[in-house]
């Protein structure tokens, strides 16, 4: 994770466009200024960042499903549950699946696991907008490369 840049997904492990599902990995840093305040002497990954990590995972799934023709923007968070604390240094496995693709919007369901145990889950809604400009599209391509987005998945 690069919390300073709000990049919460490290690596795409599996992107299955047939099943419309994705699995990624995210390493919570051992130290970060966030943990100095949340909380002093008892560092915890903030729940909102866990939700954001599920949103970003869903975002990669939607970018794949939409073949980078639309940009998913988080619009609603439903049924978000933080079932257990996430601590500095833990490795997250985050899964997301497409629950519904509507016209201009999509809904996903996502889960965070640590060592196979469920720590958080959420149902998320996204609006799907055209990329606002070529710079953002280029930026997404660069980040896609960094997280190992499987470009061959777009060919199928």
């Amino acid at each position: 994770m690069q919390l300073e840049y709000f990049q919460l997904v490290d690596r795409i492990l599996d992107l299955n466009l047939e099943e419309k599902a994705i699995r990624v990995e995210a390493q919570v840093p051992q130290t970060n200024t966030i943990f100095e305040g949340h909380f002093p002497g008892h560092p915890l990954m903030p729940g909102v960042l866990l939700i954001e990590s599920m949103a970003q995972t869903s975002g990669w799934l939607l970018l794949g499903v939409l073949k980078f023709e639309r940009m998913p923007i988080l619009a609603a968070v439903k049924e978000a549950k933080v079932r257990g604390s996430v601590f500095p240094g833990e490795l997250l496995t985050i899964e997301a699946s497409l629950a519904h693709e509507g016209s201009g919007y999509a809904m996903t369901e996502a889960k965070i696991r640590v060592d196979g145990k469920l720590r958080a889950n959420a149902a998320l809604t996204f609006t799907l907008i055209p990329f606002p400009n070529a710079d953002i599209r280029g930026h997404m391509d660069a980040v896609a490369k960094r997280v190992g987005f499987p470009q061959q998945a777009l060919l199928s």
Partner: protein
């Protein structure tokens, strides 16, 4: 038509917590019922699921923004229900 309206009205009542008896075929989803675009996504989702269709919200929005259609054509409930019936019919005939 009445069956479609009943289903849609129930979806709206449940999704947006609007009293069912205030929802009529002449209600405008936005102007009369106060449903905003984000809440309408939940309604569209429920309608898509219930009727096995995909409401073309993007196309409708574009038409309204371009001045080629009015919101009444799509968001007054009797008109919305007519569109739903058309989409269901098109789906069943494979057109």
């Amino acid at each position: 038509m009445s069956s479609t309206f009943d289903q849609v009205a129930s979806i709206i009542a449940e999704t947006c917590d609007i009293p069912r008896d205030t929802i009529t075929p002449d209600s405008h989803a936005i102007d009369d019922l106060g449903i905003d675009s984000l809440d309408f996504l939940d309604i569209a989702f429920a309608i898509d699921k219930a009727f096995g269709i995909k409401l073309p919200l993007e196309k409708w929005t574009q038409e309204v923004n371009d001045g080629k259609a009015t919101t009444e054509q799509y968001f007054v409930l009797k008109n919305l229900c007519a569109r739903i019936d058309e989409l269901v019919a098109a789906k069943s005939t494979g057109t």
